[in-house]
Symmetry: D2
Subunit: 305 residues, 4 copies
């Protein structure tokens, strides 16, 4: 389940204009806590076992808030939610460098998120959204360190050039995506984690100039390719190269995997799982979008895109 006080504002009485869990007013903080606890309840009915908390909390002007109070209020609020978390649930604390606030964000980077997660307890984890970093951040290193700390909770996949652009996964920096998956495979294996189930995998990409389903199909393909390439890395040889500080050799090993065309492998895997060899091609050939609009059109007016 996702909790997002920023987007969920409309159903709530007190305004989140100046934050939710960080708010100077205890009443607003309590409302945000109650909202999260309610989300957990809905989640339980739906069979979910995790709560992702992304807070728009922060400030747009120097002086607007007291950083320490904002942090401590947020921690207290999160603690209240954490206390209401079912035993088998996890809570993911998502961070974001900027936007919608333009001066500070109260969970602004992985360091802050990890601080909250460590203070909350063992059910609390950090969630990484690829588009939520300052320019030039080394995201794959963050992923590796969070796995090393056993505090990586999950992912929001997308791609971006400037900020939280939410572009199709793999459309801008596919090599970075591969490097992230390399860390995921390596780090999860080192911890004995199950690739499929021990992290929360989410796609958070969507741009209004593409059909959202085509966007999703392209994102899934990019993720599968990056994952397959990461599995292909000769980790024994890479480890040897690293132990010998053979920098050029280590690069060769990574690029060997990345440059291999694994589209046939991914397609075959899809076929064996009973799915289409070429999802985007099928989607277009079968005019599925038109069919879906047609069906929805029986009850509602389609909005176009």
């Amino acid at each position: 389940m996702n909790s997002n006080t920023f987007q969920d504002q409309k159903d709530q009485k007190l305004s989140y204009k100046f934050g939710s869990m960080q708010h100077v007013d205890k009443g607003v903080r309590q409302q945000a806590v109650d909202h999260n606890i309610e989300v957990i309840k809905y989640g339980q009915e739906l069979g979910s076992t995790s709560l992702t908390v992304w807070l728009a909390d922060g400030s747009s002007f120097p002086g607007q808030l007291n950083f320490r109070n904002a942090f401590n209020n947020t921690l207290e609020s999160l603690q209240s939610v954490y206390d209401a978390l079912p035993d088998d649930w996890k809570i993911f604390v998502e961070y974001k460098a900027f936007e919608p606030n333009f001066y500070s964000t109260t969970v602004g980077d992985w360091g802050q998120s990890l601080l909250y997660a460590n203070k909350l307890g063992e059910k609390a984890y950090t969630l990484v959204d690829l588009g939520h970093h300052l320019p030039n951040a080394n995201i794959e290193q963050i992923v590796a360190l969070l796995l090393n700390e056993q505090k990586l909770g999950g992912f929001h996949f997308n791609d971006s050039k400037y900020g939280d652009d939410d572009l199709t996964v793999g459309s801008i920096k596919p090599y970075q995506l591969f490097l992230i998956f390399k860390e995921l495979v390596e780090g999860m294996d080192a911890r004995g984690l199950n690739h499929a189930t021990d992290l929360g995998w989410m796609i958070d990409a969507s741009h209004n100039i593409k059909d959202p389903l085509e966007d999703l199909l392209q994102s899934v393909e990019a993720i599968k390719l990056a994952y397959a390439q990461a599995l292909l890395v000769n980790s024994k040889a890479l480890n040897d190269a690293q132990l010998n500080n053979d920098v050029a050799g280590a690069q060769e090993i990574l690029q060997d995997a990345y440059r291999t065309d694994l589209r046939p492998v991914v397609a075959e895997a899809r076929l064996r799982a009973g799915a289409a060899l070429n999802p985007l091609g099928l989607y277009r050939e079968q005019q599925i979008r038109q069919q879906l609009i047609g069906k929805r059109g029986e009850q509602t007016v389609a909005t176009g895109l």
Copy 2:
């Protein structure tokens, strides 16, 4: 005392080309540890009570190192240094986003530094160098959070536009400097810390196109002004504005302090302390640079600058 394996390389047998405390070779790591312990001994003779560790460790190409091993090796090395730290000493773990390594840095941001400091123990702190961040980082928030965690150790002051430019303090972003001092004053007061002695204050700025002493005089003046402006902030009124979410009002309070010309106050304080009213003016009028070059010239050949 400052320990810097990157710059101190020349006196040591094994190469730090592939790192020091992170190195895959236990021998190199031990050499770096021994070097730091030696630095502590010199420091004790000189009456110092702190060790600043800045590591150039990192990588310039994907695959060059294993992030988790690099982190764990560095932690182990730091732990050995920490164990040799005298009881009344502090160790400052400095971070830097990039350079001289251009892909990853093993103590790359405040989050990593704090992780090390927390694992090491209560004598370990984070050191903030203003030029060591990714573009657009909110440094004043980092300062506030580290003070909140009781883990801010000290500062390297300088200014920059692009990276670790080491420009004169206050020459590019004087308002940011003021905001940082506002957090320092507020956060230290909240913790009952002594402004003068409870943090390590260092200037790490110097550019070859200025006389280094003039650079230093300008840096000191900028720091004193920012500190005086921070002390002038009406913290009671600011707190009220924050509690009322009066964003424009809070900005007015900060800018009132910042826009006040406190040069006369700083000059008077200097005069009362027996120093010059106008240090840079005096330095130029008295041709102190020429005098110093003259004196050094008796024994050595001055390099000019």
Copy 3:
């Protein structure tokens, strides 16, 4: 007059989803041209003598458009608008690095804008919006170069930390604002331009967490202070320092002007012009916001903020 096909979409038949003046469809381009010509007509009725063109045109994914065709189509469209421009009008070509498109913008930086302006002719100029640059851009240098080329048309003032944040002028980087005004004063004087009338001065800042009028009052005050400080720079002494490569001295001259508290001067000027000494104070004391909401309320429902 401002023309903005992105925001003006609602009144037009063909969609600007894939651009306006860059569009692959001649019909859409023509619609955008016609819209601009219509805006000119309204402007003439209102006594305006300039047209500011900001285009959201660009792309969000590699391959989406052909950069050269997009440029050439845009140039052709702008030429058609230019041809319809009254003799005493200017056209300002605004640039923006990113957003709402997240891969490329067809008028993306000052270089592109100047290219269009030079190709269009002598009535075409570049417009600078402070928030429309890549991280760390030196905006004051751009201003100086555009003045040197006699192609600076005007300004959108605001402030920002990350992107096009549209924060109150002077709220984040007041020293940069001063440096920009220093270039404006110096460059306009060198060209014999009238400070008040020969450039288009606009404020384009507004954030929903401040009362928009208070935001505006703070922006105007910041602009007046920066302008007054720029006028105070001892340009003769600065020129001498530059000719002697006295870098520290040149910095002193700039900072002397910047550190002087010119609020009394600006307030006195306001008083002599028949305005309030302290506009924000008066606005709050007289509860002008409440009065305005009261008045509007007679005809319409106030939206709050």
Copy 4:
């Protein structure tokens, strides 16, 4: 031939500490002009037909120089060099955003470079170094626009994450490299240019933690792969997708080419040209580095790396 007053300082009498072609002192400017003219003469003897001018000129502190004078001085100096250029030569004006100067660079971006090139004349062109941009710049668009203006002179290939890192080509952002080659192929074809000879192709990458020859071999391979992938793009289908604003389709076409493993094609081409199938493998197997060090060692002391 490359002219670089910054690196060539040692053989010249007057200091370039405060710039060369921008210098306030006419004598220094003349020295820089003379140096360039001398470089041309050496170039003629060597059979070269182009001069690349990269200037470290700029400033590190606000106020240090007058932007307009620096620009105009540089233009005048370049004009003198241009006037001495043989008829069949080109002059390439290289730009760089920052470093070694940390506040402004006098040829700081492609817009400035193009301004110089346009003012100089038809033998003057812009040179693009991949590492010389502000964060997040869209380099492929710059390449396309320069080709559109018939002013792209050549390339310095390398890769980088933060600044002018000079990493191995293709080691950080291989998809960006492919997109740049796609623009090169498309733009050169549109202008009827010869891929091999009508642009200046240079590799400017080298990092001390790799054997420089291995670095070079990896760079060449990355360039060949990107070029081959760019040639593989179905430009007819891409054009159709663009004309139909089929954004997802256009992305598929680009990624189809990029994801194809063209290493066998590039290797076969190398074999047919009489070169090694696997250059890096051969280089290591034959221990060519050791052989070269051995040979050089007969006359000189090898420096290690």
